[in-house]
């Protein structure tokens, strides 16, 4: 049953990806990005990675769609037709893709308990985290406590992104925001 769901979701994923590459209307492309991300979130759920799925659904489907729509409002709604046929790009993508697929043949099976990634620190997290850290959700223990430094780094990255945007675009003061309302009434 799992494999059946996976195949359906992956088919949707590829259809969405192909459509995004083909479509010239940016509004449709942005909506398809949202769908792509939602289908990825479903795939993460089938892999039992609910925390990742949650993030993907909230960020990928929600916030980035809104931000891309807001960006599109500032530019045109139609992608320019490229002046040449991107055959070399297609060739590069196909070659890189085949190399990556070839590389996956050496990987251990999905969920294989003997895979190296499940032998390193994972057993300690699974066996010790209830006694060492406490929360029943092991993902929280790993993210917040064992890997607290990484999460601090991520927070700093988000903060840096925020102040970079602030420095580049600036935020209008309340009084200047009037015209936006006028735009809305049009």
């Amino acid at each position: 049953m799992d494999i059946f769901i996976d195949i359906i979701l992956l088919t949707f994923l590829s259809i969405a990806a192909l459509a995004i590459a083909r479509i010239r209307k940016l509004f449709c492309a942005i909506m398809l990005f949202g769908i792509f991300s939602l289908v990825s979130a479903c795939l993460f759920v089938t892999m039992d990675a609910v925390d990742v799925a949650f993030t993907e659904a909230a960020v990928g489907t929600g916030i980035s769609t809104i931000l891309m729509l807001a960006t599109m409002a500032l530019t045109s709604t139609e992608e320019k037709r490229p002046p040449y046929q991107p055959l070399i790009a297609l060739l590069v993508v196909v070659v890189t893709g085949s190399v990556l697929v070839y590389g996956t043949m050496d990987l251990p099976d999905y969920g294989d308990p003997m895979a190296p990634i499940h032998q390193h620190v994972a057993p300690r997290y699974i066996q010790q985290s209830p006694d060492e850290v406490g929360p029943p959700n092991m993902v929280t223990s790993v993210l917040a406590s064992y890997r607290g430094f990484d999460t601090l780094g991520e927070t700093a990255v988000i903060f840096t992104a925020g102040i970079s945007i602030y420095a580049l675009l600036g935020l209008r003061r309340r009084e200047d925001a009037d015209y936006h309302q006028e735009d809305d009434h049009v």
Partner: protein, 141 residues
């Protein structure tokens, strides 16, 4: 978008529940999926919905850009500060076991605090991004 009566009413009905759900995700992260990052994004999405319906000016009266700047910085400060408090109390940086009498209680408090920091920063930055983009004028066509 003030003419869209149905959108306005539905948004008014939904925004409190979105905010409540964000708080649930924030504080229930120890027990279920979720945590500061997701909660911050959901909280921000409630405010973005508010901005879409009621306009940027009204939204800036609810959460001003100055408040956003302070919130974004204070999230990182809460996180880093928790680490420093751990050091002051004799542990390593971000070793929460030192925060309370027992290591488990300390870990619980530490995780609560840093998730709060992450949530605050993520919320502030997401809304800041949206304000920055929607506050700009489109091309004169």
């Amino acid at each position: 978008m003030s003419d869209h009566l149905i959108l306005r009413i539905i948004a008014k009905m939904f925004i409190p529940f979105i905010l409540l759900f964000a708080l649930y995700v924030q504080f229930h992260g120890d027990y279920g999926p979720g945590g500061g990052f997701q909660a911050g994004v959901i909280f921000a999405s409630a405010l973005i919905l508010y901005t879409l319906i009621f306009g940027l000016k009204t939204a800036m009266r609810v959460v001003s850009p100055t408040a956003l700047r302070i919130l974004a910085a204070s999230g990182v400060l809460i996180y880093g500060g928790t680490g420093v408090v751990c050091m002051v109390r004799g542990g390593n940086f971000l070793n929460y076991s030192m925060l309370a009498d027992t290591p488990l209680a300390g870990q619980h408090l530490g995780i609560f605090l840093i998730e709060l920091g992450v949530g605050t920063t993520v919320f502030a930055v997401m809304v800041m991004l949206f304000y920055a983009f929607s506050g700009r004028k489109g091309p004169e066509v």
